[in-house]
């Protein structure tokens, strides 16, 4: 039971990390506010459920659309900047979303919102059944990874990766750099919104804390730990990070005391993340 819930959580966060990898690894856009979509997707489900719209056929499209619109606005503003400014502005916008959620007195404010009834998909699938829900999440994850694979290998994906390596040159060839990046940013945000909607169903609860900036940091760590710009990098990274967190927290209450320096070591010595390490081992 506990293991199933843990793995559902891992699958959902892998989904979120995979969506971040699309813009961070392939697009070169270092978003430090990706957790905002987790919250937006979650609040879409929570708020609709509270207002009496229990149907998943309504909740999930709304969650995706809300994330897409947020990504469009944030992306249009943030993509005016680059480098460390981009990191900070995405961070600040996510904090803004966090404070907005904390101010929603009607929907629990700081304390968060309990989702009393999971999304209702009619007779199609029962989300309250843990096994069925797990397989739904897994199917979503596989679908998303497949989608990202197709995107990355499409003409669009090639352009985005080209922009990562040399934006000026791509622009000189005649590609509208910002539009391509913005579309990529919106796709990534929408996919993460899906993760948010699933996460709210998994925990039966959504609170501003899921948008807090340390959560965005967690997602970034997962992507980097696994290996940026590698299709299965975030999968490996997120599973490793979350399992490590789980294991360490069973060993000691002060698990972060070990986790922090471990991250530092990964940065200092493990370039390219776990996937990079495996690649080097393979090559001997």
């Amino acid at each position: 039971m506990f293991v199933l819930t843990l793995f559902t959580r891992i699958v959902i966060l892998v989904l979120a990390a995979a969506s971040l990898n699309l813009i961070m690894g392939y697009g070169g856009m270092m978003s430090f506010g990706h957790a905002a979509y987790l919250g937006i997707g979650g609040y879409a489900v929570g708020i609709l459920a509270q207002e009496g719209f229990g149907s998943g056929f309504l909740q999930f499209p709304v969650a995706l659309a809300a994330s897409a619109i947020y990504a469009l606005v944030i992306g249009a503003l943030s993509l005016r900047t680059r480098g460390v400014y981009f990191i900070m502005i995405t961070l600040a916008f996510a904090q803004m979303a966090y404070y907005v959620a904390s101010g929603l007195a009607r929907y629990g404010g700081d304390d968060g919102l309990t989702v009393y009834k999971r999304s209702d998909f009619g007779g199609l699938i029962n989300l309250s059944n843990r096994t069925q829900f797990y397989y739904l999440c897994l199917a979503c994850l596989l679908g998303v990874v497949f989608l990202i694979w197709r995107i990355v290998n499409s003409r669009f994906g090639m352009v985005v990766q080209g922009l990562r390596s040399n934006e000026q040159r791509m622009q000189a060839i005649g590609f509208p750099a910002k539009r391509y990046k913005l579309v990529c940013f919106v796709i990534s945000g929408t996919l993460c919104g899906l993760a948010g909607a699933l996460l709210a169903n998994n925990t039966d609860f959504v609170s501003p804390a899921v948008m807090y900036w340390t959560r965005s940091g967690d997602l970034m760590v997962m992507v980097i730990l696994g290996g940026m710009g590698v299709l299965f990098g975030p999968v490996v990274g997120a599973v490793a990070y979350l399992l490590l967190e789980e294991l360490l927290s069973q060993v000691t209450e002060y698990w972060a005391l070990i986790m922090g320096p471990l991250l530092l070591l990964v940065v200092l010595f493990g370039r390219g993340g776990i996937m990079g390490l495996l690649g080097r081992l393979n090559r001997g």
């Binding site: 070169g28 990191i87 502005i89 904090q95 904390s102 929603l104 009607r106 990562r164 005391l257 530092l264």
Partner: protein, 344 residues
């Protein structure tokens, strides 16, 4: 769970000084003056934090998320040393020295190896440091917050103008921060070390090639930044509870400031910090009433807290739309050149 710092500040002031309806314009003016000073005081504290951040970024090109942890450590050191020595000033000086030392040790052991690496590496590594510091504090001082009591001579209200009283301690913060800002300005603009710092900011390789011990300079700058963060933390400590995670909220504000002010520019950080401090504090204090006059009371009480905490982020968004490099970029030519060669 997590509240912005100035929220407490604004609230504590409002609760002790709520204007009665029969009070006239004068009371309201008093409140405005008081909130303005609170904003100035908060802004100056933010400057101390942002100055270190922007110096470290401008000179070492290092994004240090753990800067907020140094602020937190300053506050914890102060609470400990003041309780230990029984003397506020002595405790504060010891705490300042301890934070300086901690900064130097941190630079020497870990951050030094991150120079010249990708910004993303910095974010990841210093994120790890935040986890470490928060947990270490929880291990050493426990999960509950500490209080740092003020000595009696700092709690009396002072008449700043005839009939206008302001807490002595907040006034002291304003004075200390202004003096530090002035010293920082003089130090950077008028001394030899300051000259090296500025030279390092505009071309690191060149001053290394000219035979300057650049490693020592980096350690010095980082220590200075740490001490400034520690100073901000220990001065804020008596106003708020000293608690885990206190540095994280304020760190984001410091980021907003250096983005608005232009990364690497101390002058920009100073102006932007005061601007952000005043906007944030005044917004929290007066926006609810303002909204209540325009909207229904129920709608206003829902919108006001969200809107007032969003205010500075909105300001930042507007600044970035108008001037993507911030309002006072340190060296326009240099930043543009580096932006062009950046790979992301």
């Amino acid at each position: 769970m997590v509240r912005s710092v100035s929220n407490h500040v604004a609230r504590s002031i409002l609760s002790c000084d709520t204007p009665q309806p029969e009070h006239d314009l004068r009371t309201r003016m008093l409140l405005v003056v008081e909130q303005f000073l609170n904003g100035l005081q908060f802004g100056l504290l933010l400057f101390l934090l942002a100055a270190g951040l922007t110096l470290v970024f401008g000179i070492m090109d290092l994004v240090n998320l753990a800067h907020g942890s140094l602020y937190m450590m300053g506050a914890y050191f102060a609470a400990t040393f003041v309780a230990w020595t029984g003397n506020f000033l002595l405790g504060a000086v010891l705490a300042l020295a301890a934070t300086l030392l901690l900064g130097i040790v941190l630079e020497f052991t870990t951050l030094r190896h991150l120079y010249g690496r990708d910004h993303l590496d910095h974010v990841l590594a210093t994120f790890g440091l935040i986890l470490f510091f928060n947990e270490a504090v929880r291990l050493i001082w426990g999960p509950a917050g500490l209080a740092l009591p003020l000595p009696a001579w700092l709690t009396v209200p002072v008449a700043i103008l005839p009939g206008i009283y302001y807490p002595a301690y907040r006034l002291a913060i304003i004075v200390v921060a202004l003096v530090v800002a002035l010293l920082l300005y003089l130090g950077v603009m008028r001394t030899r070390v300051g000259m090296l710092i500025r030279a390092g900011a505009s071309n690191r390789e060149m001053i290394g090639a000219l035979g300057i011990n650049i490693k020592l300079l980096y350690t010095l700058v980082f220590g200075l930044g740490a001490a400034l963060a520690g100073l901000a933390g220990l001065m804020q400590a008596p106003i708020l509870t000293v608690q885990i995670g206190m540095g994280e909220n304020i760190l984001i504000l410091a980021f907003v400031i250096i983005v608005i002010g232009g990364i690497g520019s101390i002058r920009g950080a100073f102006l932007a910090a005061i601007f952000v401090g005043i906007i944030d504090t005044m917004g929290r204090a007066f926006l609810p009433n303002l909204l209540r006059q325009m909207l229904s009371s129920a709608a206003a009480s829902t919108a006001a807290p969200a809107l007032s905490s969003m205010l500075i982020y909105l300001v930042m968004a507007i600044v970035l739309v108008v001037r993507p490099e911030g309002l006072f970029p340190a060296n326009r030519r240099f930043i543009r050149k580096r932006a062009a060669t950046c790979s992301y």
